[in-house]
C-alpha cells in the first residue's frame, strides 16, 4: 500500500496532493511531509484529499497536528474534499468545525489569502 504525496507551490501556498490510503501505516509519511513543509517556512498549506480512498483517525491525528504547527506560525491549513465517504469522517469527529474544507484547490487558495 503506497501513499502518493506531491507538493506544489502556488503563490504563497504549499499544496499537498495526497493519493491512496491514509492509515496507521502510511500516516507517518504524511506527518513527515507536513513537518518538512513547516520547517521550510511554508505556513499556508492546502491538503488536497480528492485522491484519497481511505482515511481513519490516524490520518485525522496527523492533520490536527499539522494544523497546530501552522497556527503556531500564524499560518493556515485548508483541506480540499468533495467525497462523501471522507467528509463523513470529518463530520463524525467534529473536525468540520476545525478545518476549512473546500471543493477545489482554487477555492481553498482563494479563501486562505
Amino acid at each position: 500500500m503506497e501513499l502518493g504525496l506531491d507538493v506544489r507551490k502556488v503563490d504563497s501556498h504549499a499544496i499537498v496532493d495526497v493519493k491512496g490510503e491514509i492509515d496507521v501505516y502510511t500516516a507517518p509519511k504524511l506527518r513527515e511531509k507536513l513537518i518538512e513543509l513547516v520547517s521550510e517556512g511554508s505556513y499556508d498549506v492546502i491538503v488536497n484529499l480528492e485522491g484519497v480512498d481511505f482515511l481513519d483517525s490516524t490520518g485525522l491525528g496527523v492533520l490536527v497536528g499539522a494544523l497546530k504547527r501552522v497556527k503556531a506560525h500564524d499560518g493556515s491549513l485548508a483541506l480540499v474534499c468533495t467525497q462523501d465517504k471522507i467528509l463523513k469522517i470529518f463530520k463524525i469527529t467534529g473536525l468540520t468545525k476545525v478545518f476549512p474544507i473546500h471543493d477545489t484547490v482554487e477555492a481553498a487558495s482563494g479563501a486562505a489569502t
Binding site: 496507521v24 485525522l60 491525528g61
Partner: protein, 133 residues
Amino acid sequence: MPSVELQIPALSPYVGVVRLALAALARGAGLDEEKVDDLKIAVSEACSRAVLAGEAEDPGSPVSVTWTDEADRIVIEIADRSGEPSEPTGSDNSLSFSSRAVMSEALLRSLVDGYESTTAPDGTRTTRLLINR
C-alpha cells in the same frame, strides 16, 4: 454460519491487509458499498489501536480478527494481547478534544450498529463490532 479467522502481527503494514480481506467478505455477504466503507473504517480503528499498543509493548504479538456471518448481522471480533491502550502523549495527541483516541472512539460508535470493548483477566482485549443487514 460461515466464519473466517485471520491472524496478523501487531504491526502497522498488516492493518491494510485486514481491511482488504474484510471488505471482500462484506461485499460477498451482500453489504452495500456504504456499509463496506463504514466497516473498513471501524475495523481499521480497532486494528490500529491493537497495533499502536502492540508496537509499543510487544511488537509482532498476534492480533486475531474473526468474521462471523450470522443470519441477520455480521459479527467481527478483534482480539489482541495489549490490555488497555497506552498511547504515547506526543504533540499530535495533546489536543484533548481531538486526540486520536477520542476520534477513534467516536468513529467506532458511529459507524457500526454495535460496538463494545472488553479486557479479560489475562490481558486479552476483544473489540466486538456488529453490523446489521
